[in-house]
């Protein structure tokens, strides 16, 4: 499974979209209605099915790592 980020339309029912994403195979890890975003994981071959869920604006791969240097580094 790959990490995935989903943006939900303002006009859509957020709860319904989250349910639809789960039905489409997404394992929802964080549902964030304040920013209309859903974070989770999905089998790579099912990415396309997430895009077909009504109310979904954008689907993109997540999991990009963020890293700040070791505390002893001069440049942070």
């Amino acid at each position: 499974m790959i990490s995935v980020l989903v943006s939900v339309a303002e006009s859509a029912s957020f709860v319904s979209v989250v349910a639809g994403l789960a039905e489409a195979g997404m394992r929802v890890e964080r549902a964030l209605p304040e920013i209309l975003t859903v974070v989770g994981r999905v089998d790579e071959d099912r990415l396309g099915s997430l895009r077909k869920v009504e109310g979904v604006v954008a689907v993109e791969r997540g999991g990009g790592g963020f890293q700040v240097p070791h505390p002893g580094s001069g440049v942070q």
């Binding site: 943006s7 890890e29 920013i35 997540g62 890293q67 070791h70 505390p71 001069g74 942070q76």
Partner: protein, 399 residues
């Protein structure tokens, strides 16, 4: 309107620019002669000459611009100034300035600038004019999404601090130091027990969201959860000294862009570090990283005490991400988790909380939020003699 001085100053030529009202160029040319005895010729007649005096005239009228450049003595300048204040085709008058080619390098005097005196305030606070500002950040909520916070730091005793961790298995305590340093710059004290003062919005409410682990690492889920937390707490500003390297031309994240745009619409401005991937000493300028490369996230670059761009600071190298503003980001002194208490480090991570703190001060002073706050930050920035691809609108300034 005040009467202009006729004696040339160092940065003026001794000539004047006269703005003629729209659709009144011919009438304005006649008016120059009527009120001040100035005979001006049009650019069409002067065959492209750029200077008054062409063809024996006292001035040159740029017909298509509606502007005249004229030689005028003190009495003539007085007469023109009076004409501006009266109804008629002469709309404005100002001294003609000398202009210079913009240099991409710092001035020699700046390069030779001695280390800043940080006896009372850090050089960063001095550079952004914070000691002169009456704003304190009171009533403003600033969220810093980072490695957490040492809430028991003595410099923050009595402050209103809300913490939350979005890192699995870790509380909001800062086991790294990066977060406490950033929070110190954005919201730390102006008069700590041990000087120098290092905080900008020193009376702001602090929201310390831990989205990076004690090892300094994080992921999208935690960061987006932190943004959602800040938005739901009605924070005015979110400071994110974090990012991921991108290659030039890589599209920005549609999801982060949607999130940032929605946050702005709800009155929450997100500022983020442009990134430290450049090696300018080798001529390498790296693109603005993710998520600062999103159009609705304010990307922050770093300058040093001599107002030169930090050697590591990312720049605008493609049509995707752009540096929006810069702030002090080299040798920045701020708070650090106990027992060390203080540290001096560099990076666009250090510049970003300077901008967040300034944004809080501006929000308090003006009531601006969201896009309006963004606009006020950019509009009030000090223009620098550096290329805009490195510094955007310039150095942010306290209100």
């Amino acid at each position: 309107m005040s009467t202009p001085e006729n004696s040339p100053q160092d940065d003026t030529t001794g000539r004047y620019l006269v703005l003629l009202a729209d659709d009144s160029v011919a009438a304005g040319t006649r008016e120059l002669h009527r009120v001040a005895g100035i005979r001006a010729t049009s650019t069409a007649e002067a065959a492209g000459s750029a200077y008054p005096g062409a063809h024996g005239a006292d001035g040159l009228v740029f017909d298509r611009l509606g502007v005249a450049v004229v030689d005028a003595d003190a009495d003539q300048a007085e007469a023109l100034a009076r004409a501006v204040d009266e109804p008629g085709p002469i709309a404005a008058l100002e001294q003609e300035r000398r202009v210079y080619a913009i240099s991409a390098t710092i001035e020699a005097d700046d390069a030779a600038a001695p280390p800043a005196d940080e006896t009372t305030y850090t050089w960063g606070l001095q550079a952004v004019g914070a000691p002169l500002s009456k704003a304190t950040g009171a009533g403003i909520r600033v969220a810093v999404l980072d490695t957490g916070f040492d809430a028991e730091h003595p410099d923050f005793a009595g402050r209103t601090v809300t913490t939350s961790s979005f890192v699995q298995g870790e509380d909001a305590a800062d086991g790294h130091g990066h977060g406490t340093h950033c929070i110190g710059t954005a919201t730390g004290p102006r008069e700590p027990a041990t000087r120098p003062g290092y905080g900008l919005a020193y009376q702001a409410e602090i929201f310390a969201g831990k989205v990076l682990s004690n090892e300094g690492s994080g992921n999208d889920g935690g960061i987006l959860a932190g943004i959602a937390w800040a938005v739901s707490n009605n924070c005015h500003v979110v400071s994110m000294s974090l990012g991921a390297t991108v290659r030039a031309g890589t599209p920005y994240s549609t999801v982060y862009e949607s999130v940032a745009a929605r946050a702005l619409a709800q009155g929450t401005l997100i500022v983020a570090a442009a990134g430290n991937d450049s090696k300018r000493q080798n001529g390498v300028i790296a693109p603005v990283g993710h998520p600062a490369n999103c159009p609705s996230i304010l990307a922050v670059g770093a300058i040093d005490v001599a107002t030169a761009v930090g050697w590591f600071s990312c720049g605008t190298v493609d049509k995707i991400g752009a540096v929006d503003v810069v702030a002090p980001g080299v040798d920045v002194y701020s708070s650090w988790p106990r027992p060390k208490l203080y540290n001096k480090i560099s990076g666009t991570s250090m510049a970003t909380p300077h901008v967040a703190g300034i944004a809080a001060l501006i929000s308090q002073a003006t009531g601006a939020r969201g896009w309006e706050l963004w606009a006020r930050l950019a509009q009030s920035a000090r223009r620098l003699s550096l290329v805009s691809t490195d510094v955007g609108a310039g150095l942010v300034l306290a209100p």
